[in-house]
Symmetry: C2
Subunit: 447 residues, 2 copies
């Protein structure tokens, strides 16, 4: 039986005979009694197994080490009066596979996250990474649930593509020769959006949830060369509608992970010393706020002494310090900055009547900065073509995308959510390398 099942309703399993396979996470005791904690991966909470000398041959388990796989059977004793709500009084223990005590790197002493980053194939056997990866998985399920409930079509955008969706991204080249596998310049896609737009035109509501690649050399805590993105695209939606969808999605997943993952949040709050749940609850309770980019610049200028980058003007790219200042100090809440200068944004965004801004938004959250970026798409063929030409992009490559404007396109809007940024926001972990199992960054690929 899964440990999660037992410890989530221990009263139901009182006096029950149980058999469990798991890995040893702690051993203590003396010559007469031993306490062996095990974890089977179903929960971050361990089950304490009590081994008494009269029933168990201590000789047989003298070499039991942390990380070893064992099978235990015995009677579950419900102990509501104690901190752990029950323990297994073991009748029988089998060592299924020992862990090499000299080589197993997870011992009962403090290890740094930097050290653990060098062993991504093992670090999830610490409580910290068990909690993070459990929450990551929970978020994966909740995001899919949200879109399924809302009637979205899940759609696979291609990863290998001959288009460069953002028009500016640094992409990984997979094929660039005549005579190569594809006989055409082929890169790893930086977004599924262009393709998603084609599917929204006909299916109405679609989304992708897939890996994305950027050959960005930034070695920051927020950047990785490979990460997952959630990209919904909805026909007939304008900027306000899509901001509303992002807000609704985040509130749905926040509510559900808070309800279903108490143990993980208990642990992370204690470990990190931050009130993650309070921050998430505040998000959940507040309507999303909005501010025009140009007003945000004005506000930030009033506090420019606080920033490293003080050169702020219409057209200036907001840095993480500015984004966080807006979310943390000015609004003390998530805030959508809208109507960015068109020079800062991709070619496909709806051009506003002012001639200089586009109907884009970035949703900024405390602790992270940008979590979601999205826009209403430019549906006017001539306007879009003009922008493609202005930016010296290839009309030929994008003709199929331009053509979507000819076939009953009454507009669509969408956004991209960097999944790892969401995991960071939800877990309170501040480095992207620690929220993805095997992180890939510049000059750094292990395994």
């Amino acid at each position: 039986m899964a440990i999660k099942k037992i410890i989530s309703k221990p009263e139901l399993h009182s006096s029950e005979n149980l058999k469990i396979k798991g890995w040893v996470t702690n051993i203590r005791g003396n010559l007469n009694i031993k306490f062996v904690e095990i974890n089977d991966g179903s929960s971050i909470v361990n089950l304490q197994c009590v081994l008494k000398k009269d029933k168990i041959d201590f000789e047989k388990i003298s070499n039991l080490s942390l990380g070893s796989a064992i099978e235990v059977s015995g009677v579950f004793k419900y102990t509501p009066e104690r901190q752990q709500s029950g323990e297994l009084i073991v009748d029988k223990i089998d060592i299924l596979s020992l862990s090499d005590v000299n080589e197993f790197p997870i011992q009962n002493k403090e290890t740094t996250v930097e050290f653990l980053r060098q062993i991504p194939h093992i670090r999830h056997r610490t409580k910290l990474f068990r909690a993070v990866m459990r929450l990551r998985s929970a978020l994966f399920f909740e995001i899919n649930s949200f879109f399924e409930n809302e009637g979205f079509l899940n759609f696979s955008a291609p990863i290998l593509t001959s288009n460069d969706g953002e028009g500016a991204g640094e992409t990984f080249l997979v094929d660039d020769e005549k005579g190569g596998f594809f006989n055409k310049k082929t890169t790893l896609g930086v977004t599924g959006q262009l393709h998603a737009e084609s599917y929204a035109l006909g299916f109405g509501k679609v989304y992708t949830f897939a890996p994305t690649f950027r050959a960005e050399k930034s070695n920051t805590k927020k950047h990785a060369a490979e990460f997952w993105m959630v990209e919904p695209e909805v026909a007939f939606f304008n900027l306000q509608d899509i901001i509303g969808l992002g807000d609704k999605m985040l509130k749905f997943v926040i509510k559900n992970v808070l309800e279903k993952n108490k143990d993980e949040f208990d642990f992370l709050e204690k470990y990190l010393g931050i009130k993650i749940r309070q921050r998430l609850l505040e998000f959940y309770k507040s309507p999303v706020k909005q501010i025009d980019y140009k007003d945000a610049i004005e506000l930030l200028l009033k506090h420019k002494d606080q920033f490293e980058v003080q050169d702020l003007y219409f057209g200036a790219d907001l840095k993480t310090e500015h984004e966080r200042f807006l979310a943390e100090n000015i609004f003390n809440a998530p805030v959508a900055v809208i109507n960015y200068p068109k020079s800062l944004k991709a070619f496909y965004m709806h051009q506003n009547d002012d001639g200089k801004s586009v109907a884009a938004f970035d949703l900024l959250v405390p602790g992270i900065g940008e979590l979601i970026g999205g826009s209403q798409r430019e549906v006017r063929y001539e306007k879009l073509l003009e922008r493609i030409q202005e930016l010296n992009m290839s009309q030929e490559d994008l003709q199929w995308y331009l053509d979507l404007r000819k076939f009953g396109n009454a507009g669509s809007s969408g956004f991209g959510l960097g999944f790892e940024r969401l995991v960071m926001y939800i877990t309170g972990i501040d480095n992207i390398r620690d929220v993805i199992p095997f992180p890939r960054t510049n000059k750094n690929i292990l395994m």
Copy 2:
């Protein structure tokens, strides 16, 4: 309101005032009455809108064309006596965006799938591709539901990798130079399995669901350069356990898509002229059958006259014709072929005591051949190392994987399900190019 909601329970919407946005799929009628069918992407079923001359200015809609986006409002009339169970008596129609009647390629005449493959950004606006992509999406949700219900951790294996998981795969090279982005030979992964094994060791039950890449030059109906794979990996599972999991998963998704997607199956059965549901129900009702590879060879030899490739012996690779013959003619059901010669399979599979076979299985299904391939993993360090050396693979690259055997590894098993093959099996579509939105094959990358 979504058309799916209306047509799934039309009696609930009788006489209701509705407003719907969608795309025109059919127009007929005369000077006094017009019937305009619309689809909003929520269902493959269209809604018939009735426009009468006394209420609607026919002049205003004289240029209405197939594919145009419109908004209609009116009263829903429930008509249980007729083939379509209701229609909208339109009060008001707005043309939101016209479709160019000369350029829109989906007209009310037959088009071939070959023609439609040239326009992957538009072909989903036919009923055929709407049905296929709706089922693909439904399968995506059901697979995730299955693993969530079973307590699996969803896990992101890296795509960019310095390992070649299968040891033989033709991989896409992303970086091969010192001084390149990763400063190391880097390819697009062919499997997430090695990494998934590391996560199963600790989390117990994990799975990945992600794109996979093969630079295979085979131009068959079954091969694509980019496709999605589902790969569960379960600690403590042996070969029989993992076959059981595959069978359970397939039965779960089959049952649910059959229940929830009646309209799509109605259409596909009629369109393709095959009894898809009967085949799926038979799968659902039968326990999975098994045959040892060596016995399968014996059986096939008895019918060798029927095959193109007749050279069958212990060590011969089963071709699709053999696989289908086993599933269709011999068992008339899905069958797991087990214990393949080790020369045919990847290095990481459990070596059987006979010294020549491995604890692998391929699940063969009628109409497709191999749907799932999996194995029990070799947990013995020395045996695994021996095989890596025999195959001249790099021990250095795989040391981390070998090391997993040192840290309480009591064995694990897993399988890979080619998602597109499942979509083919479920929809009855016989070409992989038609079950993935933007197919990528050798020399062929559109958009």
